[in-house]
């Protein structure tokens, strides 16, 4: 087998050196009645050529985003990632290294984590960021738990603009942990009254902006009300590119900012692996979940980096840890950091402008189609339209015409008639005028 360096001679010699007769002598601790004598009921080894053939055939059954006019967003976004990024993250020294517990020989990883933390803190206008969570949704769950620790309360208020699957993650965790969650109804237009839900039992308010539906939300009044009640504002985003153009949550009063970083450096990958961004105020740093990389010096006084404040973490603190997270999204952080280093603020701002500009163009085009209503006034690169038909059917018909047109809200929020005709549509720098025209033409056709 191509991955196994030992040959039969090696194996025989090594068993002799160990002083046993057969390999099964080394497995003698496994009770005889459950020790397998036969192979698993699975295919035998396959050549690289064969594996490649089979998996390529499977992959070929899927319609890739890059092969069609593509407008699906809702938490994951099709962006163009420079070839340099993928080249660099495949460097053996990055790809096949472990978590940097031995800092003397992992300064490569540690330094990029320090760069990553700084980038995230600046993007969000917060003091400190950690070295990543699994993704935006699990990060949101962790943020709520952190708010409970900070406030010593256990009631979270979730905006109706929060991504429904993020909401489900928070609810699931809270239900299991015995915490309370108040989830507001779906709010496509950003007009819910969340302020009235905040009281002295509230540990945190969780608000997404731009919302799941694309609507920009004014966080300042919410932060103000929350702080009056000594509750925290957790600001969530799913499209990190938006931070290149819109006011960051940090300057709007957020206490914890959490979001999805996939758009920068990372592909769609059918939903994972992604990279959760997590930032907060300096004063809360010891309540943060996840890894932190800090600056220090070595025995010769040279600057170096280490994982730090690990007394918060499970491998030291065990059942008193701030989170059970261990492995996070190291390599996705690296992709993020490299792509962001290439962009810089000049590039990011421009990228964000292009994204927004493309969304504005698309909105105008779609708004001109009879029966289509755009629900959002202020938005970044996605918005919600109300269709005169069930959105899920329309999307299927568009898919048959070779256009992947967006997310029918009902896929995530089934059974709510008010939402059945809503479609969340995203537009990024990859969309061309031709893509938009094809979408509009096909939609007209389907609605006609």
């Amino acid at each position: 087998m191509r991955y196994l360096p030992l040959n039969e001679t090696d194996r025989g010699d090594m068993l002799a050196r160990i002083g046993v007769n057969s390999i099964d002598d080394l497995f003698a601790d496994i009770p005889e009645n459950v020790r397998m004598k036969e192979l698993l009921d699975l295919p035998k080894r396959a050549s690289e050529l064969e594996v490649e053939r089979k998996l390529s055939a499977m992959a070929a059954k899927n319609t890739s985003a890059g092969s069609v006019p593509f407008f699906v967003g809702a938490g994951a976004y099709k962006h163009h990632v420079p070839a340099t990024v993928d080249h660099l993250i495949q460097r053996s020294e990055f790809l096949t290294s472990y978590t940097p517990y031995q800092p003397e020989i992992t300064q490569g990883t540690l330094q990029y984590l320090f760069e990553f933390q700084t980038q995230v803190a600046r993007l969000t206008a917060m003091d400190v960021a950690n070295a990543s969570m699994y993704d935006g949704s699990t990060g949101t769950g962790e943020a709520v738990l952190m708010a409970h620790r900070v406030t010593k309360r256990n009631k979270a208020v979730l905006s109706g603009g929060l991504h429904p699957q993020y909401r489900e993650v928070v609810e699931g965790l809270s239900n299991m942990a015995g915490d309370r969650v108040v989830s507001l109804p779906a709010d496509p237009t950003g007009t819910e009254d969340i302020l009235s839900q905040i009281d002295d039992e509230t540990s945190c308010v969780v608000v997404q902006s731009p919302s799941f539906y694309g609507q920009m939300i004014d966080l300042k009044p919410i932060a103000e009300k929350a702080h009056q009640h000594k509750a925290l504002l957790i600001a969530v985003f799913t499209e990190v590119v938006s931070l290149g153009l819109i006011e960051p949550p940090g300057t709007q009063g957020a206490d914890i900012v959490v979001g999805e970083g996939q758009s920068i450096g990372n592909g769609l990958n059918f939903g994972g692996p992604y990279v959760g961004l997590f930032a907060t105020r300096q004063k809360y740093v010891r309540q943060m979940p996840g890894r932190l990389c800090g600056e220090t010096v070595d025995a010769e006084g040279k600057r170096g980096f280490v994982l730090t404040l690990s007394t918060r973490e499970q491998h030291i603190r065990r059942d008193k840890a701030t989170s059970n997270i261990c492995t996070n999204s190291g390599l996705c952080c690296l992709a993020f950091t490299i792509h962001m280093s290439l962009l810089g603020q000049a590039g990011l701002t421009k990228l964000a402008r292009i994204n927004h500009g493309n969304a504005v163009k698309l909105k105008k085009l779609l708004a001109g189609i009879p029966g289509v209503e755009v629900l959002n006034s202020a938005y970044f690169n996605e918005f919600t339209i109300a269709l005169p038909k069930v959105a899920e059917d329309v999307v299927e018909q568009l898919a048959e015409r070779g256009i992947l047109a967006g997310l029918p809200v009902s896929r995530l929020e089934p059974g709510n008639k008010d939402l059945a005709n809503l479609l969340v549509v995203a537009s990024t720098e990859v969309n061309t005028d031709e893509d938009r025209a094809a979408f509009a033409d096909a939609l007209k056709e389907v609605l006609a």
């Binding site: 390999i23 459950v34 490649e52 290294s97 472990y98 300064q107 990958n269 499970q314 059942d319």
Partner: protein
Amino acid sequence: MEEPLIFEFGSLETTGVDLDEDESAEFELGGFRRQAAIGLPGLAEPEAMRHYVRLSRNNYAIDSGLYPLGSCTMKHNPRLNEKMARLAGFGDIHPLQPVSSVPGALELIDSLAHWLMVSTNMSAVAMSPKAGAHGELCGMMAIKAAHTAAGRDPKIVLVPESAHGTNPATAALLGYKVVNIDAKDDGTVDLEALKSTIAEHEGNIAGIMLTNPNTCGLFEREVKQIADLIHAADAYFYCDGANFNAIVGKARPGDLGVDAMHINLHKTFSTPHGGGGPGSGPVVLSARLAPYAPLPFIRRTEDGLELVETNAATKDGEQPFGRMTAFHGQMGMYVRALSYMMSHGSDGLRQASEDAVLNANYVRVGLQDLMSLPFGERPCMHEVLFDDSFLKDTGVTTLDFAKAMIDEGYHPMTMYFPLVVHGAMLIEPTESESRAALDLFIATMRDLVMSAKRGETDRFSGAPYLAPRRRLDETGAARNPVLSWSEPEPAEVTPAAAE
């Protein structure tokens, strides 16, 4: 040459990404446009390339040397898997594009689920957990959901002291009280102690979290009896699958009474560790727990595969406890793991486990006369645990010893874990090492031990000498945490210099 931070040499005006902007575009941001600068420097592409290439060269990696981190399973990462994960049909599909446009994605996930279930002899698998610890959380949530469904609310989870920190952390996260269970002198669970602990907390035990093979590198011989005792107490057996790589094709958790076990795809099935992730931690479930598997899942029907994403789409007998994450989990890792499993096949997977155990025992016999085995000279599984008694009176600590390995070109083994032995050193060579590589490693380790015993303490206390950095001040880092870069204060100007 020292490599600066991007903030120290990048420029706010520079960008390494060319973009075509339509300058006539309009804005509909509703007054939310960012006012202040972000403060992120950009690099031209050649600058970025050189910066990150140089950084990488300060890292140790499996591809550059033996990486004997016990319990972490640093094995070869085939590049075929990387290539497969980058096929547009896997890497460039959106989690929420129409299900009808991704039949191959469902097929891939279902195929991997099948391989996982068959190799563990379990009834179901929750695919979505994002890493091992997330899998533990998922498994324990399924257990809690099962208790709730049965109208029970037990408060205690049993965890042996040798467990990974994630085990107690996970139990605590769900509000459980963690009760320790003792080990015998041979490093495995003390069945009598378990019995009395169960008796003590009768009716209040939710489950046990046990790693098997355990973190001492030993297979729990009495695992079936443990499972029976737990089940008799109306509790569930959660198995930490971090060490599953030792027994693939040799024993199936489903035959051992396990109710839930996460599988670290980045350990057993070789998706790259990537400097700390991404991982992937699907959880296999027994028939008793299968109904509670979280959303989303794929249902096999006569008409093919159906994706179930919401409670509204569930059928009788499907009672998902909730959702672990947005979307479908770590698709990119699924592709890599399936590619790895297909490549090995049933025969190769079994052979890999055998070779991993063979290599660990080869290291054990190569070192056991000089180093100290806490549990005697019995065979180990895929990793071998030493304690620090062989360093007694040498003035060399486990940490010193480990750092001295760096100067010899090796990554240290896992240190001070598990907590059950003093100054633990846990060595896992994996099946990826050749006999020649092991011989060289053993010879180097023997040389280090002899050196320590000869009292050459300088070689250890100051180590590493040859790494990109000498030992780092971790205490200082934690006392005064500097977690992001800030513009240095302008240097104070002395009056003389100012003149």
